[in-house]
């Protein structure tokens, strides 16, 4: 995601400072986890982009050599293999991040269900923090999860195809997709900010 993200770091150390308990504690911690996971995702995406660019370049060199009639040396293939498995590692790590995001959604759903049990179908009468209902926290988490889930699928597809693509335009489109993360809209960043603002990680 674009934009400065690290101006406020949400560390587990600050968690102990406030005396929140129960649903509020859980929700605030989840918001901090969203923040950290999204930063982790961006770092992985950046790391992966360099590898993806290398793969595209190696592939292009290979096909150029084929066209020029010189037999492609084996070294290129080994390097290509190396970059591909590197990118696979990055995607595996992103999948792990997504699994953690899924757990956050489950946890947030649990909070909502618990409150419905405690306070009835309408949920709690007084908001946990400023104004959001427990349901809104769950909805925001779902929106974020949906975006990252789709993005991971896209990245997996890119990994599958990139090393087998010879047309340079399509290669470029794959790299563009990787870089710009089309399924994570700018609103995702706003959703996170709203989450941080509501839970008090960011000051009003």
């Amino acid at each position: 995601m674009e934009g400065p993200a690290d101006d406020v770091t949400v560390r587990s150390a600050n968690r102990k400072c406030s005396a929140l308990t129960g649903s509020a504690r859980k929700t605030k911690d989840n918001a901090a986890d969203w923040h950290n996971l999204m930063i982790k995702w961006d770092k992985l995406s950046e790391e992966g982009f360099n590898m993806a660019a290398n793969i595209a370049n190696l592939r292009r060199t290979q096909s150029d050599q084929l066209q020029a009639g010189t037999p492609p040396p084996g070294a290129g293939a080994a390097e290509l293999q190396h970059e591909c498995s590197g990118l696979q590692d990055v995607i595996d790590k992103m999948a792990a991040v997504l699994t953690k995001m899924k757990r956050l959604v489950t946890s947030q759903r649990g909070v909502r269900e618990l409150e419905e049990f405690q306070f009835g179908g309408e949920g709690r009468k007084v908001p946990l923090f400023h104004s959001w209902t427990t349901k809104q926290f769950e909805d925001s988490s779902c929106v974020l999860l949906e975006a990252f889930g789709q993005e991971l699928r896209l990245k997996q597809a890119i990994l599958q195809e990139l090393a087998h693509t010879t047309t340079s335009d399509l290669c470029m489109v794959y790299l563009t997709c990787w870089l710009h993360q089309p399924f994570i809209p700018p609103q995702a960043r706003l959703t996170l900010e709203a989450l941080l603002l509501e839970t008090g990680h960011r000051l009003l």
């Binding site: 674009e2 789709q150 896209l154 335009d169 489109v173 997709c177 993360q181 399924f183």
Partner: protein
């Protein structure tokens, strides 16, 4: 009368050249910051071009809902961000140019106010360390004109860019570079060398 006007003109010229010297540095550094932004602009245009050349429905990406629209949105968003940053740089260049213009016109005005009382010999007189007043006025005007033209040309180039006009974006980095005018910059550096003793005097 002319005896009084020359020292005050000298003082004003000295101040203007000092100002020009520091502004030249700022101008160069701001311009250097623009280069990577122009490269980004060209890259984004290249990415948009590739996207236009590819029929997504014929590729393995066809399974992704409205991928092309989403990608186009992201690309134009990124282009907007880069253009916004370039506009900020242009405001910095504008204030550099304004400062140079103000100095140059101020000195010229001071000269014109005293022109009647200054005789030709006084304004053309020069020594080994001090160039003549008319020469220095001319150099200052030349420098001012250079920055004014540079600013207008670069501003015009940026204003003509549209996020949906790929070919203009693609050619922008090249056209931006072709506006560089190292000769004129060198002349200003030369001028500053010529007046360096004068600036240090007093």
């Amino acid at each position: 009368m002319s005896k009084l006007a020359i020292p005050s003109l000298h003082q004003a010229l000295r101040k203007s050249f000092t100002n020009l010297e520091s502004n030249q540095k700022v101008w160069k550094s701001v311009l250097a910051e623009c280069s990577p932004l122009m490269v980004s602009l060209g890259n984004l245009a290249e990415q948009s071009r590739a996207l236009s050349n590819v029929q997504i429905s014929n590729t393995p990406l066809r399974d992704f809902p409205d991928l092309e629209d989403r990608l186009r949105f992201k690309l134009s968003h990124a282009t907007d961000v880069v253009l916004g940053k370039l506009n900020e740089k242009m405001s910095s260049l504008q204030s550099v140019k304004d400062s140079i213009s103000n100095q140059a016109s101020g000195v010229l005005q001071l000269y014109e106010q005293n022109a009647d009382s200054l005789d030709m010999a006084a304004v053309t007189e020069r020594s080994a360390t001090t160039p003549s007043v008319v020469d220095m006025l001319e150099w200052l005007q030349d420098a001012e004109r250079h920055y004014r033209q540079q600013l207008l040309r670069r501003k015009y180039l940026l204003q003509m860019l549209r996020a949906d006009d790929l070919s203009s974006l693609e050619s922008a980095p090249h056209r931006w570079k072709s506006l560089d005018s190292p000769d004129a910059e060198d002349r200003i550096t030369d001028t500053l060398c010529k007046v360096s003793f004068f600036m240090e005097s007093q």
